[in-house]
C-alpha cells in the first residue's frame, strides 16, 4: 500500500513560575498581537468568578471597517492621531494568507503586508521573500513599513513613495478589524470610529461569548513539576505495559503528561465525548489517567479581536484567583488568527493545511508555577 509522509507539527512545552525572574509569560502574551479568542477552563467552579469576569475582554470592543483602502491607514493624520497615540491593532479579514494579500498594523507601529508575487511586482515597495518557500519559487513576499519612523512624515521621500504606491499604483482595499488602546485615558475607541464613519462603513462589534458548564466530570490530575515524562514514545509505551521496570512508575501514576493535558483541554473546548472505552467502535478516547472526579467545572470563551493588554490583565486575575481558591489548577487558552501575517512579535506566520498559532497557560496554585504550551504550524517560527 502507498505510504504518505505525515505532516509536521510544532508544539512547545514550558514549565516555569510567574515569580521566576526570567519568566517569559509576559512577553509571550504581549508579543502575540492578534488574538481571536480567549478561553478559560476552571475546574471546581459553578460559574465564572467575578474577579475573572471583571477582567475579561467582555467590555473591550473593536471596529470592523469595510472596504478600507490601505492608503487611509498610512496617511500622516491617521498615523499621528492613532498609531503613535496608543497601541493600535489592525488586521485584514476575509483574505486567506496562503493565496491572497494580507495586511496588518502591529501595536509597535509597523505595517506588515504579506502579498503574492503579482501584487509585489506592481507595488514598488521593497520586501523580502517568504522564508517558508523554496528560494527560487517564491510566490509570497512580505513588505514592512515602519509607520512611526522619523522619516515617515509628510514631505519626506519615504512617506510620499508609500502613499503613492498605495494610492496611485494599486488600490489595495481590505476589510479590516481595528482595536485601539490609547495612551491618553481621555481618548477612547469612539474616536477611531468617528474618524471614518462618514466615508466608510464602520461597525462597532462586541466580543462574542460562549460558555458551558460540565457536571460530574473527570479531570486529569497534574503535578506541576512533571512536564513531560515521555521523551521517547516507545519507552513510554513499554513502561506502561510492564509497569515497574522503568523505575518511574510512581511518578507516572502521580500526574498526567503535558501533551495529554493539552489534548484533553482541546477535547473539552470542542465539547468532545471523553467517555470512550478501548473496545468502543466509535471512540476510544477518554480522560487521561490519573484523574479525579469534580462536581462542576466551567468553560468560557470570548471571540473577536482581543488586545494583548486585556489578556495580560486576565492572566493576572486568574493567577490570584487560583492562588486563593481550592482549584487544583486552571487553564487559559488564547487562539491567534489563522490569517495573521505574524505570530509572535514580527515572526512570519503562514498557512499549510492549518495555520494555528495558539498558546495555553495551565496555572497552578503551588509556588505560582505554570505550564505554557504553544502550538504552531509548519509555516511558523518557534517563538
Amino acid at each position: 500500500m502507498v505510504e504518505f509522509l505525515s505532516p509536521k507539527s510544532k508544539t512547545i512545552f514550558e514549565s516555569s513560575a510567574f515569580i521566576h525572574k526570567n519568566s517569559r509569560h509576559t512577553s509571550c502574551v504581549s508579543d502575540h498581537y492578534f488574538n481571536h479568542a480567549v478561553e478559560v477552563f476552571l475546574p471546581c467552579c459553578d460559574s465564572l468568578p467575578d474577579a475573572v469576569q471583571v477582567s475579561s475582554p467582555q467590555r473591550q470592543e473593536y471596529y470592523a471597517v469595510k472596504r478600507l483602502p490601505l492608503a487611509e491607514l498610512t496617511n500622516a493624520e491617521f498615523v499621528s492621531r492613532f498609531v503613535k497615540a496608543g497601541r493600535l491593532y489592525v488586521l485584514s479579514i476575509g483574505q486567506h494568507i496562503d493565496t491572497h494579500n494580507v495586511a496588518a498594523i502591529l501595536p509597535t507601529g509597523r505595517l506588515i503586508l504579506s502579498v503574492n508575487k503579482d501584487t509585489y511586482q506592481e507595488l514598488g515597495l521593497e520586501g523580502k521573500p517568504s522564508q517558508f518557500e523554496k528560494p527560487r519559487k517564491v510566490t509570497k513576499y512580505s513588505v514592512e513599513v515602519n509607520l512611526v519612523a522619523e522619516s515617515f512624515c509628510k514631505g519626506k521621500k519615504n512617506y510620499e513613495r508609500v502613499q503613492w504606491c498605495f494610492k496611485d499604483r494599486l488600490d489595495l482595499t481590505f476589510d479590516f478589524l481595528l482595536a485601539w488602546q490609547p495612551n491618553d485615558p481621555s481618548q477612547s475607541l469612539d474616536d477611531l470610529g468617528s474618524f471614518w464613519s462618514s466615508k466608510y462603513e464602520c461597525l462597532r462589534v462586541e466580543q462574542r461569548q460562549h460558555s458551558f458548564q460540565m457536571r460530574n466530570q473527570s479531570i486529569p490530575v497534574i503535578d506541576s513539576s512533571l512536564l513531560l515524562h515521555r521523551q521517547h514514545k516507545s519507552n513510554q509505551d513499554a513502561s506502561r505495559m510492564n509497569g515497574s521496570s522503568q523505575g518511574c512508575e510512581e511518578t507516572q501514576v502521580r500526574s498526567c503528561d503535558a501533551a495529554e493535558v493539552y489534548e484533553w483541554l482541546g477535547a473539552v473546548a470542542c465539547q468532545c465525548d471523553c467517555s470512550g472505552a478501548s473496545d468502543s467502535f466509535v471512540n476510544t478516547y477518554r480522560c487521561p489517567e490519573p484523574s479525579q472526579q469534580v462536581s462542576s467545572s466551567v468553560c468560557h470563551r470570548w471571540t473577536g479581536l482581543i488586545t494583548s493588554e486585556r489578556i495580560l490583565h486576565m492572566l493576572d486575575a486568574l493567577r490570584s484567583k487560583v492562588e486563593c481558591s481550592r482549584m487544583p489548577w486552571a487553564a487559559l487558552t488564547v487562539h491567534g488568527f489563522t490569517d495573521s501575517p505574524v505570530s509572535w512579535g514580527s515572526r512570519e506566520h503562514g498557512f499549510s493545511k492549518y495555520g494555528n498559532n495558539l498558546y495555553t497557560f495551565v496555572i497552578f496554585p503551588k509556588e505560582q508555577r505554570y505550564w505554557l504550551i504553544m502550538g504552531i504550524g509548519d509555516h511558523d517560527v518557534c517563538p
Binding site: 505525515s6 479568542a37 466509535v282 489563522t338
Partner: protein, 123 residues
C-alpha cells in the same frame, strides 16, 4: 525543584484532528455516530481495502443536528483518511459528500475558526 524547563517537539505529528461536515443529497437525512463510524470505515475500505479499514479513527464528536464531526487519526494515516473521505460519494444508497473544514495537530485549535467567523458579520 527545577526552575525552568522547555521542550520543543517538532517531529511528525503523533495525532491529527479533522473537523468534517457531512452532506446528503436529501438534506433531511440524519445518521447517528455509530452509522457515521461505519461510513468512515466504508470510505477507507473502498479506497484502501482491508488495511485501510483497519486504520484506527476515533469519532471524538458527532453532532447529529448539523452532521459535523471531529475525528482523531494518527499523523501517519492523515492523508489516507482524508483522501478516503473526499472520494466517498455514496452511503446506504444515498449520495453524500464529506468536506473537511479544518485540520490541525492541535485539538484545541478546532474550537474556533477565524476564517469563517467574520463571514457572519452584519453588513
Amino acid at each position: 525543584m527545577s526552575g525552568f524547563q522547555r521542550v520543543v517537539s517538532k517531529d511528525t505529528a503523533e495525532k491529527f484532528y479533522l473537523k468534517v461536515a457531512l452532506e446528503f443529497e436529501n438534506p433531511d437525512t440524519r445518521i447517528d455516530s455509530v452509522q457515521f463510524r461505519a461510513l468512515v470505515s466504508k470510505a477507507l475500505h473502498q479506497l484502501y481495502g482491508e488495511t485501510g479499514a483497519s486504520i484506527p479513527v476515533d469519532i471524538l464528536r458527532f453532532q447529529d443536528d448539523t452532521m459535523e464531526a471531529i475525528l482523531r487519526v494518527s499523523g501517519r494515516s492523515l492523508v489516507k483518511v482524508w483522501s478516503a473521505l473526499t472520494l466517498l460519494g455514496e452511503y446506504a444508497q444515498e449520495e453524500c459528500a464529506i468536506r473537511v473544514t479544518q485540520v490541525s495537530p492541535h485539538l484545541l485549535a478546532l474550537a474556533v475558526d477565524s476564517r469563517h467567523f467574520f463571514q457572519n458579520l452584519p453588513s
